[in-house]
């Protein structure tokens, strides 16, 4: 950046002018920062924006806007490529604190100081765009999900490499009988139309198919993945969609349900193949079965087998029952269930099966004899009932995600990624946890499917795609479903969660959109979710690096590898810009062009800390800008009020908070520090997966340090915030202020 020319603009609209003395704010800029501020009564109006634009024309190359929250009016105050720093005078000042009060005035002045300090410590980021970037999207797995993904990606203009381990495409759908209903009125099995997908893929010139393909190694980063195959060929791809689907649960483990006792106890996948071939016959004597019992939840929702519900087995049994009844309307069909789960329109299929005479028996199967007598603890007639005279028993087994490759041997290295290094149920140790601390759980044993890594990632954190619950790929089911913890690699279909054909096709479309965004953003040097478009990336000053490896270990996305000399090596397009590495680094060698430990500390120190004789404490809140800051904004919009002795510094993620920021705050005389961010651990809500967990981990070690400084550990806490906490957070803050007042003033104040 050439010489810094900062324009400072104050808004007195929306009641700001009536609640605080804007003239005094101008004075802060002038006397403390030697900057002339311009005030406008409606800065976001055409006139106000015009004023800023005119200054930019005249050479202003950085803009500080002190008006509303940085989350609103982003279009009005966006002056690309000029950097804009926002100071919030509205939501977090005048809307949440009393007008005309000296403490509110002090708060507003500190907001201006923090913004001006921030502006002086940052520069416009220069994106990393070195070398060639591939726009090809690789799809791993040629089943319904993979085929749909390939077509979607090709339809968006990208070359597609479709990789399948078998000798033909189609996956399970190829050997399946009819489909679950997916068109109105959703009440009967529909034709298997996998052929339509196969033909469309074959006819698409943008899709290259590799059959019998085994990925042996995947190196690189989004835009620059180099995928090596077993035959030695290497393909360059920009993003990867993992659509490896599922495998049926191993029925040989279901001896208690009679599997193996008689050849006529079969699984639902066997049944599917028999129906597809049009030859429904007993394996024992080749006769067509007249009486069939379906046993639902065979090895599902069972702590000894699959603990989860595969969501489609109920519908599949209904479909198979209806297929049997289509050929033989007099067949006796029993479905033994614990709960029939027919989400959404699948209820129509259930109704149809009932009207065709399928008998549903609620209860657990107690025994299956070799003569196929199924004894059910029948809950509906409240007695144990023997079902005799059956010709066939179908076990409705669940789906196991192909998050590993069953053809490959398990590797030891990086296995913790499969066993969940973010343990969903591990207790989070936090010094002085604010509010109720989460209860301690025993670490759950993860049921990771057997097999080797799918992609054999050449990442420092291991070759696997990390999993979370029950062996499914780690992603946030609701907020960011396709994301994995490996940027540019997305999961779709049953490898992510159990789903049926129609859902998988839809899922593929979602993952393709993420992959397209990944390849295009990588080429532009821009970040992906959730800091979409951020051009900064972590820069490491290797001269000061002590090779402690904390950054390479703690990065939630495995973005940092180690080079041959064990120095950290950032793969910029893998990075999501959370700053967890920056918060981890004990010697602050990691920083972004527009975000650094020094920037945060300077902002903290820019605040005027009143002396203890004023009777006013000063408390720092480092708040996550994904959820905590918007929740505080919302609190302001609702005119919820909290202590005006608090100063909020927004951070990218709690993971980016260095302990040095906290010690700087305490040495600067702050009486307390609160880290406010997303829920860590069990069902995390952290947008960067484990940033808040890392913050908690670091904070758990701060108590001893505080004691050695003769400071009370209560002064530093972490608080959980979710986006919906606008009513709760003001109370949390005020409670913390009260605690600090009881503990007393920071003895370092004034030194």
């Amino acid at each position: 950046m050439s010489e810094r020319k900062t324009g400072v603009y104050l808004c007195s609209g929306c009641g700001i002018g009536e609640s605080v003395q804007v003239g005094a704010l101008e004075g802060v800029a002038k006397s403390e920062y030697k900057l002339e501020a311009k005030t406008h009564a409606c800065l976001c109006g055409d006139e106000g924006v015009g004023m800023i634009k005119a200054d930019i024309e005249a050479g202003t190359n950085q803009v500080v806007v002190a008006a509303c929250s940085a989350r609103v009016m982003t279009d009005r105050f966006g002056f690309e490529p000029i950097q804009v720093v926002r100071a919030d005078l509205r939501e977090k000042v005048i809307w949440s604190h009393p007008a005309g009060d000296e403490d509110t005035q002090a708060l507003a002045e500190d907001h201006v100081r923090m913004a001006l300090t921030q502006a002086s410590k940052i520069k416009a980021p220069e994106p990393w765009t070195e070398g060639e970037f591939s726009q090809t999207i690789m799809v791993l797995g040629g089943g319904v999900t993979g085929l749909s993904a390939a077509l979607q990606a090709a339809g968006l203009g990208h070359d597609v490499l479709l990789v399948e381990r078998a000798d033909q495409l189609g996956g399970h759908a190829r050997t399946a009988s009819k489909r679950l209903p997916h068109t109105p009125p959703y009440d009967k099995p529909e034709a298997n139309d996998i052929g339509v997908l196969l033909d469309a893929v074959a006819a698409n010139p943008k899709i290259t198919v590799r059959l019998n393909a085994l990925v042996t190694r995947t190196a690189g980063m989004p835009g620059k993945f180099a995928v090596t195959f077993a035959d030695g060929t290497i393909e360059d791809v920009g993003a990867i969609i993992v659509a490896t689907g599922w495998r049926p649960y191993d029925a040989t483990k279901l001896g208690h349900l009679g599997y193996g006792a008689s050849p006529d106890v079969v699984t639902n996948t066997d049944m599917e193949k028999m129906l597809a071939a049009g030859q429904l016959a007993r394996k024992s004597d080749g006769k067509a079965p007249k009486s069939i019992a379906f046993v639902q939840c065979a090895g599902s929702r069972d702590a000894d087998h699959l603990p989860y519900c595969s969501s489609i087995c109920c519908q599949t049994s209904l479909k198979q029952a209806l297929e049997v009844l289509e050929t033989d309307p007099t067949a006796n069909i029993f479905v033994i269930y614990e709960e029939m789960r027919t989400p959404g329109v699948a209820e129509e299929l259930y109704r149809q099966a009932q009207s065709k005479g399928v008998i549903f028996i609620k209860g657990k199967v107690k025994a299956v004899g070799a003569d196929l007598t199924v004894t059910v603890a029948d809950e509906l007639v409240q007695q144990d009932v023997p079902l005799a005279g059956l010709d066939m028993v179908v076990l409705a087994t669940g789906m196991v995600p192909n998050s590993t490759n069953p053809d490959q041997a398990m590797v030891e290295y990086g296995a913790e990624q499969l066993n969940g290094d973010v343990d969903p149920e591990a207790p989070i140790a936090v010094a002085g946890y604010c509010g109720e601390a989460p209860a301690a759980h025993e670490k759950r044993v993860q049921s990771v499917p057997e097999g080797g890594p799918l992609l054999n990632l050449q990442y420092r954190q291991g070759p696997h795609l990390p999993v979370l619950h029950d062996g499914f790929a780690d992603s946030h089911y609701i907020c960011f479903p396709y994301e994995t913890r490996r940027t540019g690699i997305y999961t779709a279909g049953p490898v992510r969660r159990p789903m049926d054909w129609a859902e998988a096709a839809e899922d593929a479309a979602g993952a393709v959109l993420k992959a397209v965004q990944a390849v295009r953003s990588a080429a532009a040097g821009a970040a992906l979710h959730p800091r979409v478009g951020d051009l900064s990336f972590p820069k490491i000053n290797l001269n000061a690096c002590t090779k402690c490896r904390r950054c390479t270990v703690e990065c939630p996305f495995g973005a940092i590898d180690e080079d041959e000399k064990e120095y950290p090596n950032v793969n910029p397009t893998r990075c999501r810009r959370c700053g967890t590495c920056m918060g981890a680094c004990p010697v602050r060698t990691i920083s972004f062009d527009n975000y650094s430990v020094e920037m945060l500390s300077s902002m903290i120190k820019a605040v005027k800390v009143p002396d203890e004789f004023s009777g006013k404490p000063r408390i720092l809140i480092m708040a996550c800008e994904n959820d905590a800051v918007p929740a505080l904004d919302q609190a302001g919009i609702k005119r919820n009020s909290w202590s005006s002795h608090v100063r909020v510094v927004p951070v990218r993620c709690l993971g980016s908070v260095s302990l040095l920021n906290i010690s700087d705050a305490l040495s600067a005389g702050y009486d307390g520090v609160m880290l406010m961010g997303c829920k860590p651990g069990d069902d995390y809500q952290c947008h960067f997966v484990k940033g808040s967990a890392m913050a908690a981990e670091r904070l758990s070690k701060v108590g001893e340090t505080l004691k050695s400084m003769m400071l009370e550990p209560e002064r530093v806490v972490q608080a959980e915030a979710s986006i919906a906490d606008s009513d709760r957070l003001p109370k949390v803050i005020d409670g913390f202020v009260e605690t600090i007042m009881k503990v007393g003033f920071n003895p370092f104040k004034g030194f």
């Binding site: 006796n332 009932q354 008998i359 007639v381």
Partner: protein
Amino acid sequence: MNAMSPTPSKAYDLNFARWVYENVDGGDRMALCMQCGTCSGSCPIGTQMDHGPRKLFMMIRAGMKDAVLSSNTLWNCVSCYNCVVRCPRQVPVTYILHDLAHVAVREGYAQAKESDNARFAKAFWWSAAKYGRTDERLVTAKYYFSFGVGEGIKRGMANQKIAMGMVKTKRMHLGMPHKVKNTGELHAILAKAAEMEAKKHGAK
């Protein structure tokens, strides 16, 4: 329709259930019963039944024919129609129970002969069919004496006070029973209906 329902040979032998689906009034809808229990939960006299309607329907599927047809559920239903109104699958529970009661009578189940409600229902129908009206005094007497002469007198004496009160307030009259104007026509209608019913049951 077969005059007699088939007897299941084992648990969940579906021959009886299918017979009910086809032959009992409203039975076709019973196939759609999803065992939610709204009927039993809505029943004002559920506590007075051996089995609620929900369980009774499942017992039909389970082939528990004897238990179903000797259940007092069929006789204790008061026809309030709460269950019919509330059933999410539009199963006409009340019709089914009443028709099953007919089946129980036809097939000679003891409950259908001996239970209080069965006796009372018969007395009620006797009066309605004979006079076209129900005469409290005669229905009550018929019901009481169905237990035998001694028991009939005993019950009548026990309720004498109530009867006198009703007479005084003109809720019950002495003298000839009320009847419709032309009982002959009524009897002809009922005879025709009985003939049609017999034909229906005798067929096949």
